[in-house]
Symmetry: C2
């Protein structure tokens, strides 16, 4: 019952992508890689991956193409530009976008893929660089069940919790729900500790005392100690979170749904981004409050 | 090394107070009780507690007086009104307010107590009715170390995580930090699931898929399943949460601290309270969004 493993093209070998691609290589999948900055792919090339000169060229050599690029405009380009993945992938290939991108674009890609006889999934992840390294990512998948079954062995090499959420775009929608949830827990974390500081309390004692109770969250546990230590290195970049919150807000508006908590978080994080925080971790929202710059951003549109 | 247990007066035997008082009775503390509605104290009386005709009278019979009443105005009345606890407690008695109340009032009570040779602590709790029943409450204490040491054996009968947070008012400040944290996690929970619903996703699948990741929180785990089941019974009452959020917002303003997330949560919960949600659980914020009533409340004062 030994099957030859399909060849995988992996497009985008940044911090997340490189770790994910490495797991595929270690699991015995022949790997073709492309990245805008070739240097970031070198460790994979040293470990046996083959370099391709473009995303489309990589896809042309593979049974499965996985993308993990930066922004929706990058996703659009690698898939839909002339000479891109959909132009060059062999008939019957499976395309999997694991970038956090827009549900709308995921649907467009799925339609363009289907028109060419290709299968496509949107499969964004959560769990960050640690999850990518430890293969413990949560993978939220949108697309049809047959394509999902084909991709599942690869997902199981990269992640721990893998769920088919629905048709095309459902993976991206689920990721947006995740980011909206995080927006709330970050507000709770930052404001609770800001209050405690203003009240003159010992922050380490407050963090410990409340960790067992109703204010607790993944963010509370992961980022509280870093805030107390004054360590604002990313974890998850502010610039990426701002991207995600904007996608979520745009999609919510399209759906006719007002989410005032999300709107507030987007305004605060955009302000942090504009004031030099883009390359910091999301818990650096603390610094915006420290500077007293959290008070102003009221959106009079009422969302 | 057997010591006679001090007599405890317990003022306020509602859902929380009755469960807490019962643990003291079971641990062998002679108990005097007073409650505005005597019927709610009957099970304790049947179990051996002694009835007193007023809060002051109960305090006059006890070495330690514990209060668990409704609102700051009730706290003020039972402690500071003529014939109240501070008037009638015997010299050297220990007074412990476990109501969630204002830090400012806690300081006033501590000062009035000290002027009469009494010790006072503020010691609000979190963990809800379940925590009170199972003696797993988190107890956040403000006051001096000697009074804390005296009260600690009683706290350990009622709770699990007990911490001296600082001087008078520090317990209440810590509880406010806790409620501010919960305000954020509730926004995250409700808005994430509202988005998922609007996007047409299967809510149970979304809740399960995201439970292992960054959007997770105590609120996510405790209230997500109840929202999915359409069960909005309290847990924690909206009317009490509105009280707490208002105290927190007032205190933050007094401290010169803008907390826009808290401000938003307070406006949303106040609206839910006004529109018939007072007796529901805090996760009934879901219903406000279901009715589309979350969009309007923008505070142009900019907090």
């Amino acid at each position: 019952m030994s099957h030859k493993r399909p060849t995988v093209a992996f497009i985008g070998t940044g911090v997340m992508g490189a770790a994910m691609a490495r797991h595929l290589l270690d699991a015995g999948y022949p790997l073709v890689v492309f990245n805008r900055t070739k240097a970031k792919a070198e460790p994979l090339l040293d470990a046996g991956a083959i370099w391709a000169g473009s995303a489309g060229e990589a896809a042309s050599m593979a049974d499965v193409t996985i993308t993990m690029v930066g922004y929706p405009r990058d996703v659009e380009e690698v898939y839909l530009a002339p000479g891109g993945i959909i132009d060059q992938a062999p008939d019957g290939a499976l395309l999997v976008d694991m970038t956090t991108s827009t549900p709308t674009l995921a649907v467009r890609i799925a339609e363009a893929a289907a028109a060419r006889g290709l299968a496509a999934l949107d499969a964004p992840v959560s769990g960050g660089d640690v999850g990518a390294r430890n293969a413990t990512l949560t993978i939220m998948v949108g697309g049809d069940a047959a394509a999902y079954e084909r991709a599942l062995p690869l997902f199981e090499v990269m992640g721990k919790t893998v769920t088919l959420m629905g048709g095309p775009g459902a993976g991206q929608h689920t990721k947006m729900a995740n980011q909206i949830g995080i927006a709330g827990t970050m507000l709770g974390l930052i404001e609770a500790l800001q209050y405690a500081k203003a009240a003159g309390l010992d922050l380490a004692r407050v963090h410990a005392a409340l960790s067992g109770g109703g204010a607790n969250s993944w963010s509370w546990g992961a980022y509280g100690p870093r805030i107390l230590a004054g360590d604002f290195a990313p974890g998850f970049y502010v610039k990426h979170f701002v991207k995600d919150l904007r996608i979520a807000l745009d999609e919510a508006r399209t759906l006719g749904l007002a989410l005032p908590g999300l709107g507030l978080a987007e305004r605060l994080y955009a302000r942090l981004h504009e004031s030099g925080g883009a390359e910091l971790g999301t818990h650096a929202l603390w610094l915006l409050y420290e500077r007293g710059e959290q008070a102003a951003p009221v959106d009079h549109a009422g969302d």
